[in-house]
Subunit: 218 residues, 2 copies
């Protein structure tokens, strides 16, 4: 398990807020203390995506932040990303591992306990689980899982769980308290008036929730 | 230059003829003597595409045929394809080279002389040039280039030129005579009544056209 994979996890999405680019979002998240950045862009051409990934790789390396790439394993390999997040219809984990190597962080998205267990069995380094709460960011997201199922998954798997979907300043502590290793946010940062401040607050609330979990002996 | 990159080049496209899969098409093309197979599928998920690529890699390796992958560089890398064909908005050639290594065949699609020269300068191993003739196979194909511009490009670049777009049994000899190293076909094989026979005939006609070219001292 990568010791750095803990806490707030910011996914850049430049379509949510016109005028804010992947670079702007990542820069603000890093400035606000986030150390896990994922580049996600379903629409960009491979070439555009690659150039953005090059910039984000430099930016994250400078501060020692993890840099993960959504879906595009070739781009992750070429830019030397720390890992990827893949879905259920993307390349199988063993194929991705072959390309990225043993040290790469391979996260697999899951929306139910069965998929989470399968991802672990397939060799994933973390499970991205959700949507925990209702979200409008990802149109193809499935049914909301809720906190109870998140807690169940966190109990059931041995690899870190990255909770995702509708996570905001109001509920991020609950996500940490449910046992999630990370909380992935998109609009809570991207659409915030002050992205740096929002990042700081999300991280602080997550830590508060996680302390509660530790106090309960988990 | 890869000495095998010469002659008929069959691109599998399983949407053109319901019931004929990538595997069926490649098997027939190989049985008909084609030794350059490209897997192209713009719609398949990465996972589906990957499993098909694994099968085609085995099949082509068994007969010593070149196996090229359209667009998906990660899949090409994982399955050990001989190369890829990329477009103008895909990863830059140097990034693909980094991932696939010096021996990989990297083809770049171009639709004008300027793009062809750029591809050569960028380090491409071949230029995919066209559409030489009208085509309905690729909906986003640009304006028809015609044989004269193909001949011009073949003269202007030092790397092999793979002609593409509307190539059929009627015009493939002309393409070879214009100086193209390869002729890439899709529907001329995929939609043929007898795919094996069509492949044989296309290859024969190409060779006849190429002999004409050699006789002219090119």
């Amino acid at each position: 398990m990568n010791a750095q994979l803990k806490g707030l996890y910011v996914i850049t999405d430049q379509e949510l807020y016109p005028g804010r680019s992947h670079i702007d979002i990542a820069a603000a998240a890093i400035a606000g203390g986030c150390r896990i950045i994922q580049l996600r862009d379903k629409k960009a051409s491979d070439r555009q995506f690659y150039f953005t990934a090059c910039e984000l790789r430099d930016m994250t390396r400078r501060v020692g932040a993890l840099f993960l790439v959504n879906d595009r394993v070739d781009v992750a390999a070429v830019v030397g990303a720390d890992g990827v997040n893949i879905g259920q219809t993307d390349l199988p984990v063993d194929a991705v591992r072959k390309l990225l190597g043993d040290d790469a962080i391979i996260g697999v998205s899951a929306d139910c306990l069965e998929q989470a267990l399968e991802a672990q069995k397939a060799g994933a380094d973390y499970v991205g689980f959700g949507p925990v709460f209702p979200t409008t960011t990802k149109l193809d997201a499935g049914e909301v899982t809720g906190l109870d199922e998140l807690a169940l998954v966190c109990q059931a798997v041995d690899i870190p769980v990255v909770a995702i979907g509708g996570i905001s300043i109001e509920n991020i502590a609950l996500v940490a308290a449910a046992g999630a290793t990370c909380a992935a946010v998109v609009s809570a940062v991207v659409c915030a008036e002050d992205m740096v401040r929002a990042t700081e607050e999300l991280q602080r609330k997550f830590d508060e929730g996680a302390i509660g979990t530790i106090a309960k002996g988990r």
